[in-house]
Point group: D2
Chain length 247, copies 4
């Protein structure tokens, strides 16, 4: 598979280039960054493009790819509904082309969220702990909020009862933040990278699902999975999980 | 739902009786143990029977239930293929009756095994740790062996590569037991009850799925789930997981 | 060693009686509860008494023991400074007698707190997570508060810098409760018993100290340790840790 | 404090140089590697040298430092008894000079080992799990072996009973390796770096001490602690722990 990378000299793009070169079934045919000519994608006959650029340029990049029949796997952020609608419109005129927009390429994180939501209706209690380095600006993390929302939605759909909690006295903040009725706790400890744990409990037992992300390169297997599958999924797809053939 | 319990005065049966009485949608109408008349199930118009008795008597119990149109949820052990074939034959003559044979009613354990097998093909490495009290006679535990077999089967089906392991020197036993190519480690520590952890890892990240069973009553929610669903699954079902509506 | 138990028919006292009988070097010579004659301690020539009774009666019990030259190991709560002063005064007249007042007899909990405080000055960050069943009324737990206070005191004595935390946006409660500058997070999950984890982190590494209390009997080894050592510690001692010969 | 680094261009030496420059109370005055003139240490008036070089050259380096009255903090490996005896002899002629030889500068690892050994006599059972990336050649790790030996020695000194283990049937290797009677389990999982867990258990409770080393720089705080303290410890010291003022 002939792959081009947009944002090829960025931190993430550099790792993507390395992974595309290392995999036996993908070939890096174009590395494009700010200042380079995007026509290189066409000249090199790239079949799939990976875009880790910037919200300011990603739409132009995608218009070009779609117009030239190149599939795209996109990790750049900033996609709101109007952008997704625009992509849908462009793709309507390019029936064979697939575009994947994914907020998270870590397969471990995707599975953690999915399993947590699937298991949530089977237990009385579910809480989320996220643990990060202390230079992080937001608490809880975006992934923890999203996980809690998915858990809450799954329990709502299943008609689960509210979680038991007899707390009547205590210190402010001791029970964490409330995200749609799910308690979320954020730790900031030097030496940590990015970690999350979901604890589910019922009579006499608990189930714990934990994801530890220790290195930036954890997203590369997910990017490669997207590259391999995007041609078989014409049109617009949001979220890598729909490409993963789980169970 | 009118429920009878066979083996009602055993350790497990006692908890089952208590759980059936406590649940809002089930009613305990018959408690039968060795020496009692099994006809009580018919007189009390039990719709479902829960059987935690003994391999020596369970087949007689089930022939009686099937003949009388009573569904059965069975936690008694000792079912080999010939017994399952016998049940199939009896059920062929009782088209509306459902029988569930389950080796494990802990929903946490069932989900742990299922998630571990689903996730296994997405990672380079998978290992299993089981931790129990030191009075246990077998190592590794039956659940750990079964988990490893499920992981190995899932990876075989997906065409996963063998796991990386550069170990060349060491002490005997340091890398655990080999179950179908999956390493399994058994700890025996006073104070523990029954715990298992599956660690899956790929480039830069790990996913950990852990089950802690701290009290015998952890199986009662699974038994109740079986009681509620068995009437809707006529014929023979092996394993509670096919009754759980996951994801 | 001849041991009497006060509060012998209570939940805790029952376990203490059992442990005293089971240990090879202790003998249960008197079991006293409300309505029984405390003189039984003298008639049975008890050398040490274990008291798990009630704040209303414990001072009378101890006055009796001290007056009769019987050592005491006390798990009953409610000791303020004035009570401790009173005990000191009584013990001044009974020079050989030892009394141990301990808020916590779990050796695991005592070591967790001690190690956490010892390690705290060597790391940039320290946070505490406590996890309990959801029927608990207070959050955070008393043990977690005490642990955080000990950590804060150790860091103050060592002149440690404040912990790093770049959090600027977030949800209320996400960063837990603040106990003397140490963040404490409380989870309430069905199936849990009583658990606590202290996470310490510095550049590139973390140290985690975790205590899991799964069964009420976890305090009995600590009670026996107190029984064996109290005769060698005449006067008043508060806290079992000073009896433990650590390192 | 004026610090010189030997092996300054190696992986570890580079991090040491960076840490010495970053700390407020240390100044990097000489960076020496193979091919450079070691006299630079004298010309720059270094007070302390950090040596992360090679077993082939470290003894020459130390002879030079001792002869010139420069203290040394040494992470280079390969010190057997005859080398330590040689250092003692050289130091006898340089009464004010201190040399620290440390196999491990990670404060987290040192505390983990120390706490595990201190706690070991208070519990019935102790086992060790070490978890590393799958490119590691030896199993179990050297740190895990050393930890198990320290645990075994502490229990021997305390007269602890052998650990309970009722295992009678099982698979080869399931119970791990036996190091002086302490079971050690080694996992090799892609995505992991270097992790170790010691689980201690008694009636109804467990204490777990875990060290996670996620980044090479975890040793730099220990090196700086050595640099700051070595001048106050004339003569030869083996092991950083004797410099740490714990509890």
């Amino acid at each position: 598979m002939r792959v081009g990378v947009l944002g090829a000299r960025g931190k993430v793009g550099t790792e993507v280039c390395r992974a595309v070169e290392a995999a036996p079934d993908t070939e890096l045919v174009a590395s494009v960054d700010a200042g380079d000519d995007i026509e290189a994608l066409v000249h090199s006959r790239a079949q799939v493009v990976v875009d880790f650029t910037h919200p300011d340029v990603v739409m132009d990049n995608l218009r070009f790819c779609i117009a030239n029949g190149i599939h795209a796997v996109v990790g750049t952020t900033g996609f709101d509904q109007s952008r997704l609608d625009q992509l849908d419109a462009w793709l309507a005129d390019a029936p064979g082309v697939g575009v994947l927009i994914a907020p998270n390429f870590s397969i471990g994180a995707i599975l953690m969220m999915r399993f947590a939501a699937q298991a949530a209706p089977f237990f009385e209690s579910v809480e989320v702990i996220e643990l990060h380095h202390p230079d992080k600006a937001d608490a809880p993390s975006g992934t923890a909020r999203r996980t809690a929302e998915m858990i809450a939605a799954a329990r709502r759909d299943a008609g689960s009862a509210p979680m038991p909690d007899a707390t009547t006295t205590g210190l402010e903040g001791a029970r964490g933040a409330d995200v749609d009725g799910v308690r979320v706790h954020g730790l900031r400890v030097r030496g940590l990278v990015a970690h999350q744990e979901v604890i589910l409990g019922g009579a006499g037992e608990t189930l714990t699902i934990r994801h530890d992300s220790l290195d930036r390169i954890s997203f590369t297997p997910g990017v490669l999975a997207g590259v391999r599958a995007v041609a078989d999924h014409p049109g617009l797809t949001v979220g890598l999980d729909s490409f993963l053939d789980i169970g």
